[in-house]
Amino acid sequence: MNSTSDDELLARLDRVLERVDPVPADLLDRVRFAIDLEYLDVEVARWERHSELAGVRSSAEPGSVTFTVDDLTVMVSFLRTPRGYRIDGWLAPPGPHAVEVRIDGHGSNTTTADSNGRFALPEVPRGVTQILVHLAENGRSARTVVTPTLVL
């Protein structure tokens, strides 16, 4: 019989994992916020270049991020303002799609992209932020694309 039983060794490993690689404290809240959506039939857009601005934090300098889903690219840039952020974005391919920016605890801001796919929200509060694009087809919202949250 070994000096350390399987169960003991596994329990030790459990404790070590807990210490070296804990689940980030705010992750559960961010997940809850990200999935608290009115509609469930959403497509998830993923970060284009992950390493550059992954897990944007309030300390990070604002910059731009690109999200993609099969047939849509969403580029967003953030510019700090005295009270929050200005968001400028581009959709490719362009279309008169509604763009919704949700901020935890601050509801959401909505705008519509122009014929070139550009959109802007001049004043968005800081916080846990998620972007939704409601793709219009024949004047109706046909699909919704969502991003993971950013912490701005």
Binding site: V16, V20, V31, D36, W47
Partner: protein
Amino acid sequence: MREMSLSTTDDPPWEGLDGPARHAVCLDAARNGNRDALHVLVDELTPLVWHVVRGQGVERPAAEDVVQTVWLALLRNLDRLDQPRALAAWLITTARREAVRVRSAERSPTSPLPTEVLDQVPTTDGQPEAEALRGDRDRRLWSAFRRLPPRCQELLRLTVVAGRARYQAVAEALGMPRGSIGPTRGRCLETLRALLGAEGGTR
């Protein structure tokens, strides 16, 4: 499209249940628009998803996004999961796939050794000597663990985090035949012990 409605249950149907049975009931409720049920799943299964993703070598900030992507992907698949009891296996499978996708897109494929993280863990007050010893033991265990074959690291990480109730989910998601997970885990633990022993420390 279905709308989520606020639930007004005073005694949720998953109360008193645990493990896969509890989560199967939660999944059923979530399908019917119960937001609380979905939150229970998020709270209790996010650690599993996190360790699947980290076990694939995705860095912590990127892993936070992958975890969210997995849960967002679950939303549209709520109705497509044939067996509610298969939820954990679905989460593990989806998380692994997403992690691999992210990792292959990253320029630096391997994450830095979290040993440095261990070094930063502050010693608590009380018994400094005992604390130091325990820290040393932990460091040696972690360093031995990191030298295991990747497959063993993943299997041990998942069995530790998922718990006994989920062996089958882990086996399914890792593509292992049912019943082989126990013996394989045993061999991984043997290797871990050998690595610990080779370091000359107490086991």
